[in-house]
Assembly symmetry: C2
């Protein structure tokens, strides 16, 4: 099971158009510091699953009919924008797993094209792709302004959680996470310490969570330019079980 972070930025991405902060200037000069909108790819047993769909180069990056399924976290535009062109393509229907959100985004439900929207995932209940029964997937509720799914993946002995967008975690999700004790947890860490927001974590909140679950390795994603600028200025020494994610970073789990 291999996770690739296709994007690790928040809704603005990095560099932010017109921003002259240190983080944005660095991202302009050194492409490795750029952050695309937040999404990921999971490769398991010859299957490719997307977690959210927002890369502008999706159709160049993935050969036609190579995407087995799309798992959506939620219907904010920065997570689903690629669906609008993908729906009119000439590939076989792509199953789209989704949170329980009647509205979806704009007219996606009215004109789904080749997107095969699945019944909303029931929180905490394991499911799988029919063609990939060995990958067990569990949707976990998150705290966000729209209905929002985190996902827990189990394959063989490997366990991985992907948790964006969220501000801290609902109690049931926290309990499920403790029980699963995932090797890796990718988590929304949008803001620098001191920035309080009801929809996203700041670094202080994530550090507290990581301290409470020290056996998991925490991968910080959905990062805003302000947090990058903070990290450049303060270079805090982070615990060993924390990594600041970068675009195209890959994790291979046994």
């Amino acid at each position: 099971m291999t996770l690739t972070l296709l994007g690790t930025g928040n809704v603005q991405g990095s560099p932010v158009y017109g921003c002259l902060c240190n983080a944005c200037e660095r991202a302009r000069c050194e492409p490795k510091y750029r952050r695309r909108l937040c999404s990921a790819m999971l490769q398991v047993a010859g299957h490719t699953l997307l977690i959210d769909a927002n890369r502008s180069d999706l159709c160049e990056r993935f050969a036609a009919n190579s995407i087995s399924a799309i798992l959506l976290t939620h219907y904010h535009m920065d997570h689903v924008q690629s669906l609008f062109q993908l729906r009119w393509s000439k590939v076989a229907p792509i199953p789209v797993y989704q949170p329980n959100d009647d509205k979806g985004c704009d007219d996606l439900f009215k004109h789904p094209g080749i997107l095969a929207f699945q019944p909303a995932n029931e929180m905490g209940r394991e499911f799988c792709l029919p063609s990939l029964p060995d990958l067990r997937i569990t949707a976990l509720a998150l705290n966000h302004s729209k209905p929002c799914n985190g996902y827990l993946f189990n394959y063989s002995n490997a366990t991985l959680a992907y948790l964006t967008d969220t501000c801290e975690l609902p109690k049931a999700t926290w309990q499920a996470l403790h029980k699963a004790s995932p090797q890796y947890i990718a988590i929304d860490c949008s803001f620098a310490p001191g920035t309080v927001d009801h929809n996203h974590n700041n670094l202080t909140q994530v550090l507290a969570m990581a301290k409470a679950m020290p056996k998991s390795h925490w991968l910080l994603t959905h990062i805003g330019h302000d947090l990058d600028a903070y990290l450049m200025q303060h270079t805090p020494s982070l615990p060993d079980n924390i990594t600041i994610a970068r675009d195209e970073m890959t994790l291979t789990l046994a």
Copy 2:
């Protein structure tokens, strides 16, 4: 006054993901035949105006604070998708002129960010950017599934109309067009002859319009892969006042 076609494709663009038709295969092999989503740029007296905003590379293509205004034709996603990231940028507010559509697209009106939405244009009534009084702009009604503006531009002795998305033209627009007798008319020509659609023109419809206004040069845009495939197969000899547009084509008007 210079018009640059930033994209000349329909909602699918070309190549269509997974399509193996002759037009899509050609576009894959020869990038000059690719068609991005339909939009344009008008450069006048040191100002840059965008007509629709859908290029995925908008923030790389245009230096920060170099866009004087955005004129929207309508709120279909394939015409406005770039606004969702642009709104959260760190540039000065950008005036956005728009059709009379209360809904807009998704949550753009709720969270406009730096987008300065202007009162809806009144059809047939001339307006201008305060900083560019010599460019006279007139919104013209189009026939589409959403409220949709064409735009007529007058600058010095140059006249240009931009008319997407539309199926033929409302009578008042046709009359305004006759009266203005623009040097160039960029028009929606999505489909091959025989494809009938209430929202877009086919080639037969556009040929009839161009015949009725022979003094104008008609630039066919918003082109679907099926029309390109038709043109490859039939290579019809088109009247002298018709050009099939290509991405990045520029017209400089006296």
